[in-house]
Symmetry: C2
């Protein structure tokens, strides 16, 4: 792992070949190893894990404002898992079951959590007693499991989802739970905005909501191949689960009431999005906010001034670290070009070069991952670098927003919808019936993603339903991962 | 969760009744909820999780000096799990097996990792190519699973170990792996020292080593009831696993060599130790280094100066937070005594009280969890509090060391050994034979824990084996959890 391997030197497939690019970048940049000997399970390389740490550190910092982190068991006894009828129907085909301890068959089969409602809510029934205990807002970050029969893909469709952040809140009334849904959407928007990922928010159709929910709001982004990726969901659970699990509180008049709940989640698809939205033909491009390495310092070592240059490189790194940045100095004895390649592939936002000429001029040379080159006086180093990283962050967001806007088409006809979903999404008027949605999905080979769309270019697509001609309102249609 | 409940007000069992005390403190201080409906699985309350975060934050900071964090899958296919013969024998009776996905029987049974050698080493076989890739030092913090048939106990003996930090290193030679064993012991000593927990280090008997290891070094502490708790192990794996999994490197002469390995782990028993070693009749006592709340500020609100006092309390908290401390202000409208009780139970190292008299005198009143009271001028607040916390940290370590020293007896006879293990451990000369160890264990109702003991009072117990009279060297004997 010390020098670029021959494979690293081979050209990465162009990003236009998104599927090939994605597959290659994951192992070349040492994010995930796909060679684990079970389908749908992957290994986080240390560098990938460092990225995960940044992304989930950001997510934690947002959640911690108004939630508490806890940890519930992975194994759910069959009788708890089977309590909520709709919920079971949604998951029964994809639950892994533990049936044996050693060679002994278990008395009660244990499910590996596909999601944790049925692990958490029996405890909430014990924890919630009075209106004074509400609202209760707890989250955990855990592995969840799905026996996927579809094609699996690292970070996107897995059998072990290794980084599921799931929040579960309890409220006195339906309206308070509804307000919490909006709070959650706000947090998720902020999370993605900080990672420079533009999102479309919509309400999933009735038949596509979370099993056991009143309604589901989803957060999608658009991937380079035009397909949508669901990267967050927020569910209003009403009192379905509280009635099933007996989550009741005593109200101010001394009466027992069933609580109202929400849950919302984000998985490592958030990392798939960071990788896919920003990367380019040369590799990864990380927004400074979540880059595992924000600045790499490359000493340009020639001839007799090697020690002086190395000392200066260390000094620069020290200054930047003191300013709170994540910095590496690449002291390897290989040519600078190989180092540039190595760190560009790994998405480092800023490269700082220091050679004898820079030393003499009292400057460093800074090159962003997007190729902008500048000289920063050594005396203004910290401020100069911070300013470049701020600008890069804005630039990445603007670039991603422009791209997403270009992929959202306001369509008024079936033909326009069919054309739009080849490169992105359509916003087409729809009457709301399942019949029209299914006919539409079949004819354009895409999915009815949702209504009440919030995001980019989402105004002005009211009109007659493109299928039946009845009054319609804008609906999001696209091909999804 | 807002006011002390009646149960909280009930007197905690005295710590002398350790088993009762431990059981009660865990839920009263909101560390773990034991009511999850599966034996041996427990729920981390938010406050317990905050403690876990501090303890594992400390552990991570030590590991990150010279290891990289990664993440490997939970599910291990049967054929990988079954590769190393000794290893299987050690675990086959306590492995949970996943046999079904939905209603479909799996082609290959999947084990829930009881430990991750067999998940990680197939990947190491791919990752290690050359001597330049070595040493490789990686760790992960994960859940592991054991189908325990013994009596389970939160944080101590579980079916889901939720916080297993396991490190796995690869080296060119046996000697380098041996040196890494010493590095690991050093890290573990530092970890426990920072938590003010004195430890005894010893080499486990041959028959009690990790399945598949050349030898095992264990870290134990002594619990309040005199029993030992194993809170860390370090294993030299030799080349057993590298031969099984094909972990080879090309040496400097171009020849393929099998690598040598170590692994070492720490679980949430580290948290059981912090709770048990330091707690007292009034509840938990956390060392400042890992206390989830280091300082609680209690405004003494009387009469007309309420707002002034509250504002001052917030100011004090702000000053201390800026100094990097974890601080809570308890603004609840309950009497101060109830607040004192609440935070003492939860182990907060320092309480800062502010009332009208303190305001007038320009001071705050500081009371440590051990009862030492002082006044700190408002102007010296940060320094004053930092100094008190430093002293408290030293005091807790000294107190715990004194206690442990008092429980280590250098025994020269069977009778002295039998007496010693009632309140702690004996260091008794032993010839090294399994026969003598088993006879000894039976006669004193305790375990032969190990030899080459490092720690407290561990010198000077050479002499004739207390069982057979042949030459012996000091061995650690005690009753263990």
């Amino acid at each position: 792992m010390t020098v670029p391997t021959e494979e690293e030197q081979r050209t990465l497939p162009p990003k236009q070949d998104f599927s090939g690019w994605y597959h290659e970048i994951l192992w070349r940049a040492e994010i995930m190893d796909v060679r684990y000997p079970v389908k749908g399970l992957y290994v986080w390389y240390p560098f990938g894990f460092a990225l995960r740490k940044q992304v989930y550190g950001l997510l934690r910092s947002l959640m911690d404002r108004d939630h508490e982190e806890a940890l519930f068991p992975l194994l759910i006894p069959e009788q708890e898992f089977m309590k909520e009828a709709e919920h079971i129907k949604g998951f029964e085909n994809e639950v892994y079951w533990v049936t044996h301890g050693g060679t002994t068959p278990l008395d009660v089969k244990l499910a590996l959590r596909p999601t944790s409602e049925t692990a958490i809510y029996p405890m909430y029934a014990l924890w919630v007693r009075s209106h004074a205990d509400l609202p209760l807002k707890i989250y955990q970050i855990v592995s969840t499991f799905r026996y996927e029969t579809k094609h699996t893909r690292p970070l996107i469709r897995l059998r072990e989802i290794t980084s599921f952040k799931e929040a579960h809140t309890v409220h006195a009334t339906w309206e308070e739970a509804e307000a919490q849904v909006e709070v959650a959407i706000g947090l998720y928007r902020e999370f993605y905005r900080t990672m420079c990922i533009p999102v479309l928010v919509s309400r999933r159709p009735e038949w596509d909501k979370f099993p056991g929910a009143d309604y589901t709001i989803a957060v999608d982004t658009i991937m380079p191949d035009g397909r949508t990726l669901q990267i967050g969901t927020v569910h209003h659970l009403g009192d379905h689960f509280s009635r099933t699990f007996g989550i009741q509180y005593e109200d101010t008049r001394g009466e027992q009431q069933y609580a109202h709940q929400t849950c919302y989640g984000i998985s490592e698809r958030s990392i798939a999005a960071v990788i896919s939205v920003h990367g380019d033909d040369r590799g990864l491009v990380f927004p400074p906010a979540v880059a595992p390495v924000q600045v790499v310092v490359v000493p340009i070592i020639v001839g007799s001034r090697k020690e002086e240059v190395l000392a200066s490189a260390d000094g620069v790194a020290e200054t930047l670290r003191n300013d709170g940045l994540r910095v590496k100095v690449d002291r390897r004895e290989i040519r600078p070009g190989a180092k540039y390649y190595h760190w560009e592939l790994r998405g480092v936002p800023l490269r700082v070069e220091i050679g004898p000429k820079d030393l003499d001029a009292g400057v460093v040379t800074a090159v962003t991952r997007l190729g902008a080159k500048s000289r920063i006086p050594r005396a203004d180093l910290a401020e100069g670098v911070a300013e470049i990283l701020r600008q890069l962050q804005d630039q990445l967001l603007a670039r991603a927003e422009t791209d997403l806007r270009g992929r959202v088409t306001c369509a008024a006809t079936l033909a326009e919808t069919a054309a739009a979903v080849k490169t992105g999404v359509a916003l087409a008027p729809w009457c709301g019936s399942r019949e029209c949605a299914e006919a539409l999905e079949q004819q354009v080979d895409a999915s009815m993603l949702g209504t009440e769309v919030r995001g980019y270019g989402t105004e002005g697509t009211h009109g007659p339903c493109i299928m039946c001609g009845k009054p319609g309102s804008p609906a999001l249609v696209g091909r999804s991962f």
